[in-house]
Amino acid sequence: MMLPALILLAAISIIPFLYMIWMSFNTVSLFGGVSFQWAGLANWVQMFTDPDVKSSWLISLIYFVATVGVEMILGIAIALLLYEITWGKNIALSLIIIPMFIAPVIVGLLGRFMLDPTYGLYSWLFKSTHIYTHPILGEQVSAFVSVVLMDVWEWTPLITLITLAGLVSMSQEVLEAAKVDGASYLARLRHVIFPLTTSVIVVALLIRAMDAIRYFDVIWLSTAGGPADSTKIIPLRLYDEAFRFFHLGYAAAIGLGMLAFSIIVANLFLAALKRREVAG
């Protein structure tokens, strides 16, 4: 029963994976048909010494911590807010999760539209209130903050959705007991709500963590990694190396580095899943 799916999956995942390992030890040329030339460890040595790749990993790391961090805090806060309100919970949640369904490429372009220095609504807002008057996507720091916030806009709703599901499934008795005992909201949050929803929040974190390195469309379409490479996260670097400079073997080595990262996240996710199953 499983065989057809597994054979197909093997063909489109394991073969390309082995191929990529082979590529990373070669200089790959596309001109006049695909050709390989053995390069030994050259690509790997280059990857560990290339300052551009190093800076891209660093930018990715900051981007990762900033997006996932803000999304977690904001997403949980909004979930708690929705949990507490008495009327309109469902309609509010439906409106809040809309951004998740919008193609990242559209989110990137929409961000660019809102921040356009001449015609953008948000640019106009910042300019007329004198909060920020430079072209927002044209300066390194503000461009980086912008691409972080675009991702935050699209994916905070996912954290809210997952956390709210965890909140709703909490045992009401424990919550009521804490209320009757006169525990303040903060005390209830700390001693009842968070302990009861930790496992759900961990799942939300891991799901976001794996997607944060998977996608790069938003940055691609809004800043394309600029200005001056300040938003060039590692997938964009890989894409440039592969399809702009045609250093395909080198790009394969970078790709395997990224793959190692996602395998770590996948392991953590499976561990979290197991723990939830044990907990019931």
Partner: protein, 277 residues
């Protein structure tokens, strides 16, 4: 009395916060919708225009500007639709097998499936690109469909497994006792019971494929361009036609928002890969 007053004040503050959240979420979306309906001079003005005579001109332009927009729509529907059908079809069988079979190495199999789903897109594109060049699959819908299977097939197997695992096995055992065969049990008893799960899986597969940009940008040629590409092509050296762009943005986003919200009840399970119900 003071207690109810305090509770009311608390609710008022919560609703003020909710309004702020909703503004943050909705302003860009509403602005995109409004801009797509604005006359061009109302978009290209240095102060935002709120009052205007709505026009469908940008939508008409999108379809008539000679870029073959209708064929982009057809390509998008075919590539995401066919990859979804294959993923969900095969995923149903494999997911059921995974949920019910006990065998050595099941954990390893699960790990392989989930890490395939999690693999970074840029890293997946690279070997596929070489392979597709070799097999002459660039600039074909087949190539695009195969590339969408790389993330949708493992996703469908995994999620269907989660939905099947939730069914009590006693139902199947009862059917078997009544003399139903393995296939009959699967078709007549099990499959109808997971219908909402199958629908959710199909819709999420559709959303992931429809929203793809990276694969299409790399593999698609004139014969297989999809909708998201048509949006990016409006970015030119001479400037960006924001009217048409917001119109395309609306066309790309609207159907996905509608079908996504239709399965909201099962979204959490689908999007957490079955880890949260």
């Amino acid at each position: 009395m003071s207690r109810t007053l305090r509770a009311t004040t608390r609710q008022v503050i919560l609703y003020i916060l909710l309004v702020i959240v909703l503004l943050w979420i909705l302003v860009p979306i509403v602005w995109m919708l409004l801009s797509s309906l604005k006359p061009t001079n109302a978009i290209f003005s240095s102060t935002p225009t709120f009052l205007f005579v709505p026009t469908l001109q940008h939508y008409i332009d999108v379809f008539t500007s000679g870029n073959g927009f209708s064929s982009y729509i057809v390509n998008s529907i075919l590539a995401s639709g066919i990859s979804t059908l294959i993923s969900v079809g095969l995923g149903c069988f494999a997911g059921y097998g995974l949920a019910r079979a006990q065998f050595k190495g099941k954990d390893n199999l699960a790990f392989w499936i989930i890490s395939t789903r999690m693999a970074p897109i840029a890293a997946v594109i690279l070997p596929l690109y070489i392979g597709f060049r070799y097999l002459h699959l660039t600039n074909t819908l087949t190539g695009l469909i195969i590339s969408y299977l790389t993330f949708n097939l493992p996703f469908a197997i995994w999620i269907m497994n989660a939905f099947f695992s939730d069914l009590p096995i006693s139902l199947e055992e009862a059917a078997r006792v009544d003399g139903a065969g393995r296939w009959q049990t699967f078709w007549d008893i099990v499959l109808p019971l997971v219908a909402p799960g199958t629908a959710t899986t199909a819709i999420l597969c559709l959303v992931f494929a429809w929203n793809d940009y990276s694969f299409a940008q790399t593999f698609a040629g004139p014969n297989s361009q999809t909708l998201p590409l048509s949006a990016s092509q409006l970015i030119t050296q001479t400037g960006i036609d924001w009217g048409q762009l917001t119109a395309i943005g609306t066309i790309v986003a609207l159907p996905m928002v509608v079908i996504g919200l239709a399965v909201r009840r099962w979204l959490v399970k689908g999007l957490t890969l079955g880890a949260v119900k």
